[in-house]
Amino acid sequence: MNELVFFINNVVIAGSVTGSIYAIGAVGVTLIFSIMRFAHFAHGDMMTFGAFMVLLLTTAFPGAGDAFGVPSALVLLPLAMALTALLAVGIDKAFYKPLRAHGVKPIVLVIGSLGVTLMLQGLIRLFAGTSGQSLYVDDRKEIFRLALPFEGVRAPVVVTEPQLYLFVITLVAVIGLHLFLSRSRLGKAMRAMSDNPDLAQASGINTNTIVAVTWVIAGGLAAIAGTLLSLDVTFKPDLSFFLLLPIFAATIVGGVGHPYGAVAGGFVVGFAETLAVFNWSVLLRPFRDSLPEWLTQSGNLAFVGTEYKIVVPFFILVAILVWRPTGIFKGKVI
């Protein structure tokens, strides 16, 4: 049973954490693609920017969370989301909109967003430095240990406070997005524009408004993902930049342009990554008597070493592009 707990801690919880972050990031990427038809490479640093805003705000108001009994960072998150949304709309107005107005090919926008990502990263480094910083004011995360009610189980299931918040907020964000897209007038107009931009315009839908709404949502979600990630580990200027690849893998796995697919893709990639670095020898220990010796002798039975974790989303990305470029949910091809 201890092995099961080990599995829960190292795969189920760790995979859900990674999956949630990828999912929220991938939803933003997929929404931007479905409205503006380009791969937004600056999304990772938009996430970092959101976390950076939380860092600034918690430094300015360290006691904001005391009244609610939650970390200050969470209380200030909505404000950071608003600021990141503002940044997203601003970046669009300053860089992407003029390019669109010239009727450039999507690849030009992609390269433009690469420029934006370097710019954002430089800007954040300039103010936040390059070292890691905790978003927790007193740097003490609460850790919940849930002992399983079974005989002989010594190890508890361990969840940290930020991980719990991460699960709850991801769930709320996904349900909120679903309601927005399926119930609200603007959400339906967004789906309409994704389906057929010309007809959306002929129906009287103001496409500029939809573009702005898309950036607001993508920016807000990016701030959530960046902040929750930084809460789980620590804030670093290049933290989310390295998530860009798995996030794009998740987007493509889910089918580009499908918000629900992006959520599914996020968890697929997250769990694949976690399962690949998981040390299976621990799970095999109870069966050691009935297994061949060569299998039980080895102390480490992970598919890939932790330091090569990034190989997994890379492999998934290439594999899905080769064998099923439209992803699980039949999306568009980037």
């Binding site: 007038r185 339906k188 107009a189 789906r191 309409a192 994704s194 389906d195 057929n196 010309d198 007809l199 959306a200 315009q201 002929a202 129906s203 009287g204 839908i205 103001n206």
Partner: protein
Amino acid sequence: MPLLDARDVHGGYGGMNILNGVNMAIEADEIGVIVGPNGAGKSTMLKAIFGLLHVNQGEILLRGEPIHNLPPNRLVQKGMGFVPQEKNVFPSLTVKENLEMGAFLKPDNVKRMLKQVYDFFPPLHDKRHQPAGELSGGQRQMVAMGRALMAEPSLLLLDEPTAGLSPLYMNEIFEQVKLVNSAGVGILMVEQNAKQALAIADRGFVLAAGQNRFTDTGAALLADPEVAKSFLGG
């Protein structure tokens, strides 16, 4: 005052004129039909009216008010509806959501107009929760017309509404066009099935090479031996 009055319209893409002085006028309760050979500028004229094509010369008046070169969403506000020939539904949206998008600028109308559109096109009511992309061609055409009607237009522009439909559906669409028209909506449509279309037309416009060749009532054009010989296939 005519509902739509286009005078000496010139226009085209990238400096090349396709329309070389087209005149067209219909009254509020009329059906106007544009026919002519391929490349005559029929669809182009419709696009020019709906602001999708730059008008270089001439003017287009909607109830006396100049509207040429206004963006499409402004024209929807002014009471114009447009049904493109292809890609005229949102395939992943349900039928009901498609219709709702037509009333995007008039959200207060949705309930009342939904009822009216379902009355015009009863099959749509049964399929209202189905994605429009899963419907047959004829039903999709109904969704497209319904979507345009949701904004309560006074003028509805239809670009080849029967293209690619079986004869059975074709007659149904013509019947529905008549029905919509009798509810007080002016119609201007481009049609390949010239004989059938002219039969329901109050006004007929035969275009060739971006200019009017014949302009008369639908019945008179059908009866004209010269029109019949050169444009209606004998």
